[in-house]
Symmetry: C2
Subunit: 542 residues, 2 copies
């Protein structure tokens, strides 16, 4: 870049040089940014899943759009959280259900907070009924997308470079498979271990606890027995969860197709965890860890919230949210929280959409929407009351805020157990919570320095990485788009059946050889023996 050869002589040259200086400084800064961001751009199709999964997928879709890629997000006309963004275009498709059905399903989520635990049989029947409703909804969404010929034809014509999707509901994966597009999956894990099967990733039940067992990676013999049993039942659970999807997929593809076949075609798996939360376990080359992807995306607090937070003084604040799917709770339950909060010196910010009682303590601020990550990142954050979803937990770890955890459903019970084994959080049951237990838990995580110290150490490890998770997710999505997949990361294990993978055919063959050789040797020995005996007998006879 040429610079003015002389700045002497004219008094105004000072101003010119100064402006030049600013231009030069900004230009060099701009160049640095430009050189870092790839000049290559492509076209990405995003088929997201409703609910908390959307948080990570949206962050990546927005960032891909911001970096110049053409990003198209396909969403149903009716959803809980899905919606438009700044850097991508949305294409909606009609569905056969309405907002009311979704609200009903959400209301059912709040049922888990009923005062009393349900009897076992009723609990199982409620869970089964909820799961059936969820599966039916997913089926309806999948049908509305995949059997919408006009939409699929439109998408086919767009010549996308890749598809980004949540494989927990594999509609996007099926679409990618059918359009022969490389798929990038973003997930935390699949409930029946299907991620391990579809990536051919070893998953020994001896030290990798299964979902819903609440075990750690160091299991007693009894826990290992339970873990092996659960791992044996996983294929059945997969069948239960995915049979309706397989039915839709088979109709769409016009041939029998299994969800495992579809998912194992995925080019890259972006996993929303790392080993500050997860127990160390094997990975495959096409798995990339992006735990804490949403932590770096921060915005300033509104003036009102900032004032409330700063007004907390040395005691700081408590952030309270039960996630995107549960925002209200039964009155008698809420009263416990209000009472406990009135007895602590901290200020509390609570995501709460229920009926607001008259006796809300002064130190509590109820908000319909909570800037959770921004609040946890505030220096005044002292504790985080959470349901234990992975997004929230990673935000807590990222900002080093100890947690009080109230798991509600899904993988939350396992998540909170992982946090508790690290000594950075306390688990409470929403069913039998009392003012005392809540106060005790808050007191521990805020005033017992062990929680804060351990959390700071965990946070330091989590944040000490060579590249930000969002940048890593962008890099690998772009990689798949640039190279039309990631075939060089696909293990040959996909081409082996179960017997071959475990070398059982080889071992069987070897045993057969050993058996034949042993039998042949025995036969030889017995023949020799007989001949010898006969000779000796003959000699004796002679």
């Amino acid at each position: 870049m040429p610079v003015p050869s002389s700045t002497h002589g004219h008094p105004k040259m000072g101003l010119v040089a100064f402006i030049w200086c600013i231009v030069l400084t900004f230009a060099s800064a701009g160049e640095a940014v430009k050189s870092k961001e790839a000049s290559w751009t492509g076209s990405l199709l995003v088929v997201p899943m409703d609910g908390s999964h959307w948080t990570g997928v949206k962050a990546l879709a927005e960032e891909m759009g911001r970096r110049g890629h053409k990003v198209t997000v396909v969403i149903p006309e009716v959803s809980v959280l899905l919606g438009p963004g700044k850097h991508y275009v949305t294409r909606t498709f009609p569905v056969l259900y309405g907002k009311q059905q979704l609200d009903e399903l959400q209301a059912r989520n709040a049922q888990v907070m009923e005062s009393k635990q349900l009897p076992l049989m009723e609990k199982i029947s409620t869970r089964f009924s909820n799961m059936r409703k969820f599966v039916n909804l997913q089926r309806a969404t999948a049908e509305s997308l995949l059997l919408n010929q006009e939409l699929v034809d439109f998408l086919r014509k767009q010549n996308f470079d890749a598809v980004l999707t949540s494989p927990a509901v594999p509609t996007g994966a099926i679409l990618a498979y059918n359009l022969s597009l490389p798929a990038v999956y973003m997930l935390r894990g699949l409930p029946c271990g299907l991620d391990s099967v579809a990536t051919a990733c070893p998953n020994p039940p001896s030290y990798i606890p299964r979902f819903f067992t609440h075990s750690s990676d160091r299991m007693s013999f009894g826990q290992r027995v339970l873990n092996v049993l659960v791992s044996m039942l996983e294929p059945l659970l997969c069948r239960l969860i995915y049979w309706t999807t397989e039915d839709v997929a088979s109709r769409f593809m016009q041939r029998d197709v299994s969800v495992t076949e579809v998912l194992s075609s995925g080019a890259l798996w972006l996993l929303r965890y790392d080993f500050t939360l997860e127990f160390p376990k094997p990975l495959m080359p096409n798995m990339v860890l992006i735990g804490g992807i949403n932590c770096a995306i921060r915005h300033p607090l509104t003036k009102e919230v900032e004032e409330f937070v700063n007004g907390s003084g040395e005691h700081g604040i408590v952030v309270f949210s039960l996630g995107s799917l549960v925002s209200s709770m039964p009155k008698e339950k809420a009263d416990i929280f209000f009472k406990a909060f009135s007895m602590i010196p901290q200020r509390v910010l609570w995501r709460y959409t229920g009926e607001i009682p008259n006796n809300v303590p002064e130190n509590v601020k109820l908000m319909k929407w909570l800037p959770q990550n921004d609040l946890l990142g505030h220096p005044k954050a002292r504790a985080f009351i959470t349901h234990g979803g992975t997004h929230g937990i990673y935000e807590g770890i990222c900002h080093g805020v100890p947690m009080v955890m109230l798991p509600l459903f899904g993988d939350q019970a396992d998540n909170v157990h992982r946090v508790a084994t690290r000594g950075v959080g306390v688990i409470l049951s929403i069913h039998d919570i009392t003012v005392e237990t809540l106060l005790d838990a808050l007191n521990s995580v805020i005033n017992n320095s062990s929680y804060k110290q351990k959390m700071q150490k965990l946070s330091a490890i989590h944040n000490d990485r060579p590249i930000q998770p969002l940048d890593l997710a962008v890099f690998w999505t772009e990689f798949v788009m640039r190279h039309k997949g990631a075939d060089h990361l696909r293990p040959a294990a996909h081409e082996l059946n179960w017997l071959q993978y475990h070398s059982l055919d080889v071992i069987g063959f070897m045993l057969l050889i050993v058996l034949i050789v042993t039998l042949a040797m025995l036969k030889c020995c017995s023949l020799c023996w007989r001949r010898c005996c006969r000779k000796t007998q003959k000699r004796k006879e002679d």
Copy 2:
């Protein structure tokens, strides 16, 4: 940073502003560099292994020193390649062997190039004898280091943050284990699968070919049988290779200690490969791939070499090296190369320390030391004749130069097989090489566009990464130093024995339960049956 509030008024202000501008620009550039390079520095002990392993370890040691860490490299007084560097200090220790013994061992390496293949038994006996000599040399080095009380005491007092070492010869690993320092290992793999055992990394023989089998990841049934057999023999091979080291380690630690125990204490494994060369396989969380670590380290060619290279015109050059351990060859073998080279239009740069004959063709330049990576990175590089060491192969892949490969020993035969399966190189045997086969091979890789195209694709994939391998290696070494290890990446599998790991105790227990239940049920049935029969009989009798 404050800026001058006004630059009007005085003619000299133009100059001031200009200088300020330059300062500001450089300062902001400096800040960017500084913020990227960690301000934290520590103290690193490096215990390298002689031979080609040194290339990668030296690159990392130099870079760590350059970034401000105190790096101490401990090397024997006599070695083939080890030596001082710009950014680290060396501490030598006396050994009981001399330069002559090392030269003899090196001369033995050249023996593999003898014109005729040896008879099988002689070949085995030669290899065994060479291995014995190598193992004895390693033992002598290990003893000289570990049993040198004064040196060990000195190193203990330095309060290093971590140890960087090649675990293929585990002297450094033993030292780190004894000093209770976290160890960072750099390697390509261990010959008897010990890396898988020591990292608890699954290593199914059904699709992960073992060293020396020359198989790919897609094996026939026969190849899988061979692979399973080799994997069964691996523990024996490990014993053979490491028993002398275990003996020294036990004397040093004053208790029985196995190499597996030592190596499994390693905090981090920097693996010198990626999946452009290696077949995709499982990884553990504490494994970091740094294949191609030395590719980015480039220097300008000397004027003389640059002129020779540029004089090659459109035909370009061929780079020829058989690695750091073999630099000369028998005369009759060399003649084949000279003759073939005289018949090609390319110019050849050959690392050659043997006797220089009179009839060296004009297009051939013999050099005692070859700037291999710089030459391969030159736009005129057309082909690379190599023995197939991993460093050289990755340099070839990095710069997209197709190869003619002459494997000599160690893992080279497997490496070249991996390259050949990618269609980017031709394998020749040094034993039965002729002018015709060499010309054919060179002609193929230079003029058959398929090789160049496939190599460019492979090179593009290899070079398309979010972070340079050297930076990644620095990051993880610093990580281990900062956090005193990487415990959060250590799988609980290390605490299980073989039976537990494979859940065989659990399966046995379950079978026992099934057996007991079945027997109990059979007993019940038989009791019921008998009672029924008795009643019927009684009734009949009545």
